[in-house]
């Protein structure tokens, strides 16, 4: 055990370099900086927006519309004595992005329930989402105004009848059923919430796997490049310990790096998404989530943690085998690619499709990739598909044991030194 700890300490010390610190600090700072920038942009977008209004009608209704815009947190800049063309030119020259032109006869036509068009001019000065936000708000203001006018008309014409009932005589009451539980709510908003909650998982997994695998491959490659591997293989410690310490050290440093990484990433995402919890509470989704049993429990977090850990171990074992093939640090960088692809496949599939709905050969291929299972674990846990959850865990465990046996076998034979030569020869043949 003493020898094992001695080797483990050395492996960790070798991995924790100044470069690692600098790259981590830089990444965290970058995430923080982008997050803060996004946050301030969002805040700016939420502030009162300016809108130019050319009221060519000057009726009560057009005045009501202008008041509605004020209530919708628009700062209205009324343009007096200008033609439409002049108003467009004036707005173009100003910092206002939106111009609303209320045509003459607007109020009169609406009172007679005749269709009348207003004109809006959006000045796209950037293609960001924030840039087009004011036109979206204006759309909802016009929609509210439409409701107000039609409700008012209906109330006058049929005073005993609710305009709401007339306009929407058919309504639906939505229920969502998950396994044996049922609750009133919208399926799309619940699905949206669950996927928003688990959006971090693939990102965390990707980062840890790529980070740790890169470390273990590089650690073995550096042993070869610096000509220290041969000496290490002749000291009195088992080859399995050499493999295990390299993997363990990479896992520890990889996990710590990922935590630091995520700390920065939280700022980054926080800037874009704002406070998700607040949004959930305001939509009343929290109650529905609880009723449907979709709120993660301590046990589900534990199972998810085990799933993530097993995926990381599988990646490290694969990286160890790939590391043996590396001649030096440079070739180690290209050897990480197959591993990255294997992580990317389930990562993108989990974003863009439901793995369960894929064709059988593709599904089998995806299931054969050990990294697919943690992506599926969250959903399977929420949907109480425990057979799939524990099947996935068992598969990853077996996969890891098989790989570690192969890795230990390679390290205890000539292959640890000669596989590189074969690789080289193949390269030359190519």
């Amino acid at each position: 055990m003493k020898k094992f700890l001695n080797l483990l300490a050395k492996e960790i010390r070798e991995l924790i370099t100044l470069q690692l610190f600098i790259s981590l600090l830089f990444t965290v700072f970058l995430f923080y900086f982008i997050g803060q920038m996004a946050k301030s942009e969002m805040k700016r977008a939420m502030r009162t927006q300016k809108i130019a209004v050319l009221d060519l009608d000057a009726s009560t209704l057009s005045q009501q519309l202008t008041d509605s815009l004020n209530m919708a947190r628009f700062h209205v800049e009324k343009l007096q004595g200008k033609s439409k063309e002049e108003a467009v030119e004036w707005t173009k020259a100003s910092d206002i992005n939106l111009l609303l032109v209320i045509p003459p006869g607007f109020g009169e036509s609406l009172s007679a329930l005749e269709l009348k068009e207003m004109e809006t001019y959006s000045f796209l000065r950037s293609f960001s989402l924030v840039g087009s936000r004011s036109s979206v708000i204006l759309g909802s203001v016009i929609s509210a105004l439409n409701n107000y006018i039609s409700d008012d008309f209906l109330k006058k014409k049929i005073p005993d009848f609710s305009p709401e009932k007339l306009k929407k005589p058919v309504r639906s009451k939505d229920f969502v059923i998950v396994k044996a539980r049922m609750a009133e709510g919208s399926a799309s908003s619940i699905a949206g919430f669950v996927s928003a909650q688990s959006v971090f998982l693939p990102i965390i997994l990707m980062m840890i796997i790529i980070y740790s695998s890169q470390m273990v491959i590089s650690a073995i490659a550096m042993e070869k490049q610096n000509k220290t591997l041969e000496t290490l293989l002749t000291v009195p410690i088992s080859r399995t310990s050499i493999v295990t310490t390299k993997m363990l050290a990479s896992a520890v440093v990889g996990l710590v790096s990922a935590v630091i990484y995520m700390f920065g990433f939280r700022y980054y995402m926080g800037g874009f998404m704002g406070d998700v919890r607040q949004a959930v509470d305001s939509a009343g989704l929290g109650r529905v989530i609880q009723e449907l049993g979709l709120a993660p429990t301590a046990n589900s977090y534990l199972i998810l943690g085990i799933s993530l850990f097993l995926a990381i171990l599988c990646a490290l074992a694969m990286a160890t085998i790939l590391g043996v093939l590396a001649e030096d640090y440079r070739s180690a960088q290209s050897l990480i690619m197959p591993l990255i692809f294997l992580v990317m496949i389930p990562y993108f599939l989990s974003f863009f499709s439901d793995i369960k709905n894929l064709s059988l050969p593709v599904k089998l291929f995806v299931y054969a990739i050990p990294f697919s299972h943690p992506f599926l674990t969250t959903q399977n846990l929420l949907l109480e598909n425990y057979t799939a959850v524990f099947g996935g865990l068992l598969y990853m465990l077996v996969f890891f044991i098989a790989l570690i046996l192969i890795a230990a076998r390679i390290f205890s034979t000539d292959r640890v030194l000669t596989m590189k030569l074969k690789f080289r020869r193949k390269k030359l043949l190519l």
Partner: protein, 240 residues
């Protein structure tokens, strides 16, 4: 005991290439035994097999009665190997590298200190021992590694081209250190293509070429047998 290391009919194939074709040799206690031959003769392969790095295709290697094939761990406890192009961990200070390696052999902190002190006295790096190995010259690294190889006073030190890449002064120092330790009872198996170095260092020599030992004996015996002035001439005559 007649010999600490016995190598019988050692063979090694790399695919279709026969690197060793059944070589035999023994190393006696406190003896410096050298394998000499040109590049690609099979010297390093033989040393790597004895150092437990490579497995033999055939033949038998026994060390202090242990069979290498069955008990490689026992070998590793008692031997020390210095590869030809070895390096040290660049991010570790010289002193930390020695401590790290010593802990694999020492059963107490006191023993670790003893090993490290011995390595320091062999390496003679002065205050540079407290600097990272990445800042060392090739000669300094070689001396650090020689200190590491001899610090435990192994029963057998396997040294592959011990003065490879060293300047004259450093090479002389290294040769003296090896001689001194052998005189203290450490058996040494070394390889070199520098015949003059071997003549100065070794008690017995084996001439190896294309995986075959052409002849073996003391330098004096070989020179007399081939009526040569030095080992280079002996080797040339043995090849004919």
């Amino acid at each position: 005991m007649d010999s600490v290391l016995e190598v019988e009919g050692l063979r090694k194939n790399y695919g279709s290439l026969e690197a060793l074709k059944g070589i035999n040799f023994q190393v006696k206690p406190g003896e410096i035994f050298a394998l000499i031959g040109p590049n690609g003769a099979g010297k390093t392969t033989a040393l790597r097999i004895v150092a437990t790095l490579l497995s033999a295709t055939g033949g038998k290697v026994t060390f202090l009665g242990f069979d290498l094939k069955k008990e490689p761990e026992k070998f590793r406890e008692k031997i020390s190997y210095l590869p030809e192009e070895a390096g040290a961990y660049r991010n570790l200070k010289g002193i930390d590298y020695l401590k790290f390696m010593a802990r694999f052999y020492a059963d107490s902190d006191e023993k670790t200190r003893e090993f490290v002190d011995r390595a320091k006295s062999i390496a003679r790096l002065g205050n540079r021992i407290n600097e990272k190995a990445g800042t060392y010259s090739k000669g300094m690294v070689r001396k650090l590694l020689l200190g590491r190889a001899l610090m435990t006073r192994p029963d057998l030190a396997i040294l592959d081209e011990p003065t490879s890449g060293l300047d004259v002064i450093n090479a002389l120092e290294v040769r003296e250190i090896i001689k001194k330790f052998a005189a203290e009872g450490i058996s040494v198996l070394l390889s070199s293509h520098n015949m003059l170095e071997i003549e100065f260092l070794s008690d017995r020599v084996a001439l190896i070429d294309k995986g075959v030992i052409l002849d073996s004996g003391t330098s004096k015996e070989l020179k007399e047998k081939y009526q040569a002035g030095n080992l280079e001439e002996v080797f040339r005559s043995a090849l004919r």
